[in-house]
């Protein structure tokens, strides 16, 4: 997933960024609200937002995003643990509310849980044609008759597949994919084409469609 982390504390922000990246996510870390507004793009799958920031309130930002019909998962990360604060946090539109200090593993589990709910896969599994994808366990199986064969993917291949599956039914531009997997996006880069080719070789040609001149698309679930 591509995540936007808004946290002003450098030790926590850097620690969470590195932890989430080590778990295979792409993380944009913004220490201030202003940075977060600049970094926010449609490619972010979820937002992790601190409440109290040097230049404003993360809670108000979440509220304003919800007013703009932003339906992405949003998690509040805050030191405010009073019942009223927790209620206000959830009432603002946040999908979950995590009180500091927390263990990053718990943050990750909650993030996955929220993502599963919003992605319409409560059990974390998606099926596209003959391919079964477990977003939670990060596993891919190819159906061959009655038999399911587990397919091993590299980290980059998984990131690409996850990005496309999370947007199944929609066209994802090459540039967006480069951004999602944290590629440098240089003009002559063919990283995306190489990984797409590898995925097609491992999982079959029908999984990822090329929409000429626009990008790539994974068919909707089913």
């Amino acid at each position: 997933m591509k995540l936007l982390l808004l946290e002003d504390d450098p030790i926590l922000g850097e620690g969470l960024r590195d932890f989430l990246q080590a778990e295979g996510h792409v993380v944009d870390w913004a220490p201030r609200l202003l940075d977060a507004r600049c970094l926010l793009s449609a490619q972010h799958d979820a937002l992790l937002v601190d409440w109290q920031l040097p230049d404003g309130s993360g809670l108000d930002w979440v509220r304003s995003l919800r007013r703009q019909q932003d339906k992405r998962p949003m998690l509040m990360l805050t030191a405010r643990d009073l019942l009223k604060d927790r209620i206000d946090g959830l009432a603002s539109g946040a999908d979950d509310y995590l009180v500091k200090p927390f263990e990053p593993e718990e943050l990750l589990a909650r993030l996955h849980a929220v993502h599963r709910r919003t992605a319409g896969a409560p059990d974390g599994r998606k099926r596209v044609g003959d391919v079964d994808i477990d977003l939670q366990a990060r596993g891919v199986w190819l159906r061959q008759g009655e038999r399911l064969e587990r397919i091993e993917l590299t980290a980059r291949e998984w990131q690409l597949l996850e990005a496309l599956v999370n947007r199944s039914g929609r066209i994802v531009e090459k540039a967006a994919l480069e951004e999602l997997i944290g590629s440098d996006g240089s003009a002559h880069s063919n990283v995306i084409e190489v990984h797409i080719a590898n995925l097609r070789r491992k999982l079959g040609r029908g999984l990822i469609e090329t929409v000429r001149g626009l990008g790539y698309r994974v068919p909707a679930e089913g």
Partner: protein, 426 residues
């Protein structure tokens, strides 16, 4: 809190009033008794003398005519005679006498005046006759005189005591009524919520109570300010402590992923220590922020345990399903007690909840190394005294504070089988 045996103002004043009433009653009894005795004595003696003087005239007119009186006794219808008389000649013979008077002379006295008979049965007044040949004795029975005096004295004393006791009862009743506002004020103070600005203040219903009400109002105001200040400090401290703790854990989690295998155990231990620190700090922040203002909820031991990381021991929940308590505080206390148990080698811990006499009772029994009975006693004393004591760690102190905010206390026990330790919050 157990009622201590303190002197009671009402009882002391009641006793004092009772004593005054009793002393007054006894004094009045003695005074009235003496006075009554003296007055009645004079009255009866006067009556005896006047009777003698009347008889003197009659006997003088009759001139000692005793023909119509067999054995000198004058005839009379049957009657009760309280006063008797005799006319005695110079030889000591009774010449005339009243119906109930004895045949023998009452006394050998010849001069005018009072005397008693030889047996002490009669009180006699003697009056010599004008002819000098005889004397007149008029007498009254001593027991009749005593009965009359006792009756008069008894009635006077009874009335005096009745008046004294009635006065004491009225004073006691008045005292109780006047002390009632003090009792009402105590009840108001007991229900006072100084931290709630909307709570009604105290009212003085007597002038003498106004200084007390003013002092309590001033005290509660200072208390509320102090608590508000500490809560604000706790809120700041919470923010200042929570974020670095979360950052520390995140950094350690990343370091664990990136570190070479030989560093993993050391980093794991560091992370566990950080986790314990996190739990203690969280518990302290929770405790100090509440300021004794509990958020009561019905919960269960299982629900409390679900809030806690239970990695190093098997924790078994039992007992009642409904525990009225502040779940945040109680789980913080539990977390520290479980940490303690694990650090003392416990691998199996039983946590049982119960309600006893309306009080929440939480019991932890573990299979760790436990502690000797003497150490248990010393720690319990330190907990009871709420003072510093070596060996009394933050975990026990914090759990005791949580127990006290719930109206109970922490009790340490050495199990009968000698294995592990038992801690009760009740």
């Amino acid at each position: 809190m157990s009622a201590r045996l303190l002197p009671s103002i009402r009882q002391r004043l009641s006793r004092m009033l009772g004593g005054i009433a009793l002393a007054w009653g006894l004094g009045m009894t003695a005074g009235v008794g003496l006075l009554t005795h003296e007055v009645l004595d004079n009255l009866l003696d006067g009556a005896l003398r006047e009777s003698a003087e009347i008889l003197y005239g009659l006997v003088a007119v009759a001139d000692g005519d005793s023909h119509a009186a067999p054995e000198g006794m004058l005839p009379a219808p049957p009657h009760q005679e309280n006063l008797v008389w005799q006319l005695v000649d110079r030889q000591g013979h009774v010449v005339l006498r009243s119906h109930k008077a004895p045949q023998a002379r009452l006394t050998d006295r010849q001069q005018e005046g009072f005397t008693g008979d030889a047996l002490g049965a009669w009180h006699v007044f003697t009056l010599p006759m004008r002819n000098g040949q005889s004397v007149l004795h008029v007498a009254q029975r001593e027991d009749t005189r005593r009965a009359t005096m006792w009756l008069a004295m008894g009635a006077s004393v009874g009335l005096t005591l009745l008046l004294g006791l009635s006065a004491a009862w009225w004073l006691n009743r008045g005292l109780r009524r006047e002390l009632q506002p003090l009792l009402d004020l105590s009840n108001e103070v007991a229900e006072l919520e100084p931290l709630h600005p909307q709570a009604p203040g105290l009212t003085a219903t007597r002038t003498e109570l106004q200084p007390l009400v003013d002092a309590i109002a001033s005290l509660t105001q200072r208390l509320a300010q102090r608590v508000a200040h500490e809560r604000a400090l706790a809120a700041h401290a919470a923010h200042a402590l929570r974020t670095p703790l979360a950052g520390m854990d995140a950094q350690l989690a990343v370091a664990l992923k990136e570190a070479p295998p030989q560093l993993q155990p050391r980093l794991t231990q560091t992370r566990e220590a950080a986790a314990r620190l996190r739990r203690v700090v969280t518990a302290l922040i929770t405790l100090f922020r509440t300021g004794g203002d509990l958020q009561w909820q019905d919960t269960s031991v299982s629900a409390l345990l679900q809030r806690l990381p239970l990695k190093d021991a098997v924790v078994q929940a039992g007992g009642t399903d409904v525990l009225p308590c502040d779940p945040d505080l109680l789980s913080a206390a539990l977390s520290n007690l479980l940490d303690n148990a694990v650090r003392h080698g416990a691998r199996h811990i039983e946590v049982t909840g119960a309600i006893a006499e309306g009080q929440v009772r939480l019991r932890l029994q573990d299979d760790g190394s436990g502690m000797p009975a003497e150490q248990c006693r010393v720690l319990q004393q330190a907990l009871d005294a709420q003072g510093p004591q070596e060996g009394l760690g933050l975990g026990l102190t914090l759990a005791d504070m949580v127990a006290r905010t719930h109206g109970g206390r922490l009790r340490l026990r050495v199990p009968d089988n000698g294995i592990g330790a038992v801690v009760e919050l009740c």
